[in-house]
């Protein structure tokens, strides 16, 4: 033990509140350290002083006798109906047979609810398998978007919109620094909707790139255009135009950076259903994304 550690526990040592191992460690240190020994001796004197003086201090705290008399005579209000229910329930629950009965009923209820939930979840594979894959891995698909900001959705709303259940992991694989998936709805020029479930990754300080190569350029630019439009700058229009050109020129470099992060893999899975395109993307190897996709099937 170091001097600091010993001095931190000397109070507990005085109060006989240390384990036998800790006590031995303290005593061993004290026998070898003059400084701590001196501090300990001062604490012993302090302890003696406190034993002598504190009882007087404590007795000096005297309640007003009139207050105590008032307290004794205090009219305690009738216990309310709610308190009586709590009181009665509490005393009933002390009866072992009743407590067991309540526990059994609760367990049956939990099992019934779980069975219902499980049968609900079992419908997922059928629903997801009804969807048609609309692109091969690595294939670049253009999906012209109506240039307007996407609408963000909660996972529950995305389930409603997609017409099937989604339950995506909210954590990245170890080593990937990012956030839970984001659900967004985009309007496509052909009248369909695109629901994008994306795992995001920040690739520089200014930009969160939504990883997918499937319609990605359009998605990405739509988001960035909206952001640029909202910026208040002098010479706004020329500035915005310059930013967009800069952005388009830089986008290939961003993809290269994403590829580097993913080990060169393109990661985007998507399915179609009538008027809906559903896309699942993430900044990790394809294998990992497949695993996530399987987990929702």
């Amino acid at each position: 033990m170091t001097c600091d550690e010993v001095q931190d526990v000397l109070g507990a040592y005085l109060a006989h509140a240390l384990s036998s191992e800790e006590k031995l460690a303290v005593e061993t240190h004290l026998s070898a350290c003059r400084e701590c020994k001196k501090y300990f001796e001062e604490l012993l004197s302090l302890d003696a002083l406190l034993r002598q003086e504190v009882p007087k201090y404590w007795q000096g705290i005297q309640p007003d006798p009139r207050f105590l008399a008032r307290l004794e005579r205090m009219e305690v209000p009738e216990v309310s109906w709610w308190d009586s229910i709590v009181r009665k329930t509490s005393s009933w629950l002390r009866r072992p047979w009743l407590a067991r009965g309540v526990a059994l009923a609760a367990a049956i209820l939990v099992i019934v609810v779980l069975v219902r939930e499980m049968s609900y979840w079992r419908r997922i594979p059928t629903q997801l398998s009804e969807l048609t894959p609309t692109a091969k891995q690595g294939e670049r698909v253009e999906m012209p978007l109506i240039p307007q900001p996407p609408v963000s959705l909660s996972m529950e709303r995305a389930q409603e919109q997609a017409g099937f259940l989604l339950h995506l992991p909210s954590q990245f694989p170890a080593g990937v620094d990012s956030q839970p998936p984001l659900f967004q709805v985009f309007e496509l020029e052909d009248g369909r909707k695109l629901i994008k479930a994306s795992y995001r990754v920040a690739i520089d300080n200014s930009l969160t790139l939504y990883q997918t190569r499937i319609g990605a350029k359009e998605l990405f630019l739509t988001e960035r255009w909206e952001q640029i439009r909202s910026e208040e700058e002098p010479g706004k229009e020329a500035f915005q135009q310059a930013r967009i050109v800069e952005l388009e020129a830089g986008i290939e470099a961003k993809w290269a950076e994403m590829d580097r992060l993913q080990g060169g893999k393109v990661v985007g899975l998507h399915w179609a259903k009538e008027d809906l395109e559903f896309m699942l993307t993430g900044p990790f190897p394809l294998q990992e994304l497949m695993r996530i996709a399987r987990s929702i099937q």
């Binding site: 504190v54 404590w58 705290i61 307290l71």
Partner: protein, 195 residues
């Protein structure tokens, strides 16, 4: 809810053991409740006052704590634990009030003077006052832990129950309190006088 009581019954109550009193109070016996107040009122007040350092706040907290205790008596599983349970309510209520009042009210000097006895030699009076002031200047939980330990002979386990903290925390508070007192008393200037 009050009812008349024969003197002999009141006398008998003072001899009744505590768990029985608690059971009687739980059944609505007001006199049993009054006896619990007689037994624990002053101690509850001292705890509240040690934390709050304000007479009227301490009275409010203690009254409120007894009312709460009476209402919740049915939830107390072990009647023999009434004292530490009540004290815990007092500590929690006091600390709630302190949080609300901390910005509003100046605390008053407590007991530096109350320990002084005029017949003591000058140097001893000075040391007693210094110790009282050092105790007053401790943070409230540290003050209460030191007071309960040295005036009531509470074990660290009992203190942990009273202040509703783990025993390890009480050990830490105790060690910190010693350090603070040691430092406040001039690193041994008064302490050495004890030798």
């Amino acid at each position: 809810m009050r009812f008349a009581m024969e003197g002999s019954l009141a006398d008998a109550l003072t001899l009744t053991n505590e768990p029985t009193l608690v059971v009687q109070a739980r059944a609505g016996n007001q006199e049993a409740f009054a006896e619990l107040v007689r037994r624990h009122g002053a101690q509850a007040y001292r705890i509240a006052f040690a934390l709050l350092r304000n007479r009227s706040d301490a009275e409010d907290v203690v009254q409120d704590a007894f009312l709460t205790a009476f209402r919740l008596l049915a939830t107390l599983k072990d009647p023999s634990a009434f004292r530490s349970w009540l004290n815990r309510i007092v500590v929690n209520r006091s600390r709630d009030l302190l949080r609300r009042r901390r910005q509003e009210q100046e605390s008053i000097p407590l007991l530096g003077q109350s320990m002084v006895n005029d017949s003591l030699p000058g140097r001893q009076i000075e040391r007693t006052v210094a110790l009282g002031q050092a105790i007053d200047s401790l943070p409230e939980l540290h003050r209460l832990v030191i007071l309960l330990y040295y005036s009531q002979g509470y074990s660290t386990g009992e203190i942990a129950e009273t202040i509703d903290r783990p025993p390890g925390t009480v050990r830490r508070i105790l060690s910190e309190a010693y350090k603070m007192l040691h430092s406040a008393l001039g690193k041994g200037r008064f302490i050495h006088d004890m030798r």
